[in-house]
């Protein structure tokens, strides 16, 4: 029997891919089936920029916080140079204010374990199960001495707990190991660091999503036929970027 993933040129899965399929299949199909990547909005660039500044401050504990902020802002300006997101300026201020909040908390953990030479991040690859591609991911920060993987999430409002989608993402980092995973939710005003529990249960959920995606792909080898089965939720944040909205209208006609 033909592998539906291979038929559609999908050779590995990611937490982002599976979470997108779970939340907004129309957005998943556009990104991963048609390979029309949704433009990252200013919020996503904000996260990357803050991570750059925080990373600089963690790997060099003596680096002044102002220097880390400057690194984050420079990265944000680079990433958003062509962004049409109306929130671009507002998010720049979030970047500036969040970096010191995150550093104050995370510098307590010590210097993270650097990735292997020549790599920018620690790469992980986990088998999802028979007949499924491996799950591939990259760790934000890893402390070998603590056995700790930490994923930094930036937000304008710190949540009270780890979301289900984030839990599914984190479980892939540590499942079948004796390591722990934490999520740091950093805002311009505060930070909360939550520890992921029930890893095996979240992993089972992740495997179930992958199985269902496989069944969906098995319906047809014709991408357009699969697209024709889906309806986008036009109110979803997946379409908030103007370019993403335009692509949605082009592909789905709505």
């Amino acid at each position: 029997m033909t592998d539906p993933f291979a038929t559609h040129g999908i050779h590995h899965l990611s937490a982002s891919s599976l979470n997108t399929y779970a939340a907004q299949p129309a957005a998943w199909a556009m990104s991963y089936l048609l390979k029309r990547r949704l433009p990252a909005g200013a919020s996503a660039h904000r996260g990357s920029a803050i991570e750059a500044g925080v990373s600089a401050g963690l790997f060099d504990p003596e680096k002044p916080v102002d220097d880390c902020i400057a690194i984050a802002l420079a990265e944000y300006d680079r990433l958003t140079a062509l962004s049409g997101d109306p929130r671009r300026e507002a998010q720049r201020k979030v970047v500036q204010d969040t970096v010191p909040v995150a550093l104050a908390e995370l510098r307590q953990y010590g210097r993270p374990t650097p990735p292997e030479e020549g790599q920018h991040q620690h790469r992980i690859s986990k088998p999802l199960g028979e007949g499924l591609p491996d799950l591939v991911g990259y760790l934000d920060f890893y402390w070998q001495e603590h056995g700790l993987v930490l994923d930094l999430k930036t937000t304008e409002r710190v949540p009270g707990q780890i979301s289900s989608a984030h839990a599914r993402q984190g479980c892939g980092y540590v499942v079948n190991t004796n390591q722990i995973c934490r999520f740091a939710y950093a805002s311009p005003k505060k930070i909360a660091v939550y520890q992921l529990e029930n890893v095996a249960d979240h992993w089972t959920h992740m495997q179930a999503i992958a199985q269902r995606l496989k069944r969906f792909l098995a319906l047809s080898a014709d991408k357009n036929e699969l697209i024709g089965l889906l309806v986008p939720d036009v109110d979803s944040f997946y379409w908030s970027d103007p370019a993403a909205e335009a692509a949605r209208k082009e592909i789905y006609g709505m």
Binding site: L148, N178, Q195
Partner: protein, 225 residues
């Protein structure tokens, strides 16, 4: 020789107050713990050292074997004798019931003094089958080694844990290995004469890492499955 495990409450009380090394087979984590006085109250301090891959001199000559019972909220039950002696009877008592409703009983275990990389004498004890197997293998290696005849002690290093699945779920077997042999240090007195402190032991352990800050408590939330 294997550990030939079994025990009685004949050991010294002083060992109860040593800082401890403990291994959680369910999580695959090695911890150092000690009781410290804070504002007039005794508190337990724990440090997860699993990923520091600590090394310590192990007093395998005087390892104690027998029966141990650990339960949160009650003093450990110990019936131990020096290895090589007949095992003591299993301690009898009311130890409650396990999660399947069966009466709890002390299990075969061991207790061993070790000297860590910071020159702190600790007691490493466990009654977990996965730990016993690992220590038994080390003890066999110790007994067969020519260094033992010279009165030396092994420096054993915790190098990680291996997941083992059985009908009760997943456990992690600790991985230990003998990385060198040293003369018996003064901190671990025994029949053998005290020897020069093994300087190499201190260097075998990495620099102290910052302790892991506690996570933020999460709001209660039902699982999505």
């Amino acid at each position: 020789m294997g550990l030939g495990l079994s025990y009685s409450s004949s050991e010294t009380a002083s060992s109860d107050f040593l800082p401890l090394v403990s291994y959680n087979a369910k999580a695959g984590r090695l911890k150092y713990s000690q009781r410290v006085e804070v504002n007039g109250r005794w508190e337990k301090q724990e440090e997860d050292v699993s990923f520091q891959q600590p090394a310590f001199v192990a007093d395998m000559e005087n390892i104690q074997v027998g029966y141990l019972f650990f339960k949160s909220g009650m003093a450990p039950v110990r019936a131990l004798v020096k290895i090589g002696n007949p095992l003591p009877p299993v301690p009898v008592g009311d130890y409650g019931v396990d999660e399947r409703g069966r009466p709890n009983q002390p299990k075969q275990g061991f207790a061993m003094r070790v000297l860590d990389g910071n020159r702190t004498v600790r007691e490493f004890s466990s009654n977990a089958a996965s730990v016993l197997g690992a220590i038994d293998a080390l003890h066999n290696e110790y007994e067969a080694a020519p260094e033992r005849a010279q009165g030396m002690l092994p420096v054993i290093q915790f190098t990680g844990a291996t997941e083992v699945k059985n009908k009760h779920g997943a456990n992690y077997t600790p991985n230990f290995q003998i990385v060198k042999w040293v003369p018996r240090p003064a901190e671990l007195p025994a029949g053998a004469p005290a020897a020069a402190v093994p300087q190499s032991v201190a260097s075998a352990a990495p620099a102290q890492a910052p302790s892991l800050p506690p996570p933020t408590p999460q709001a209660a939330k039902p699982l999505p499955f």
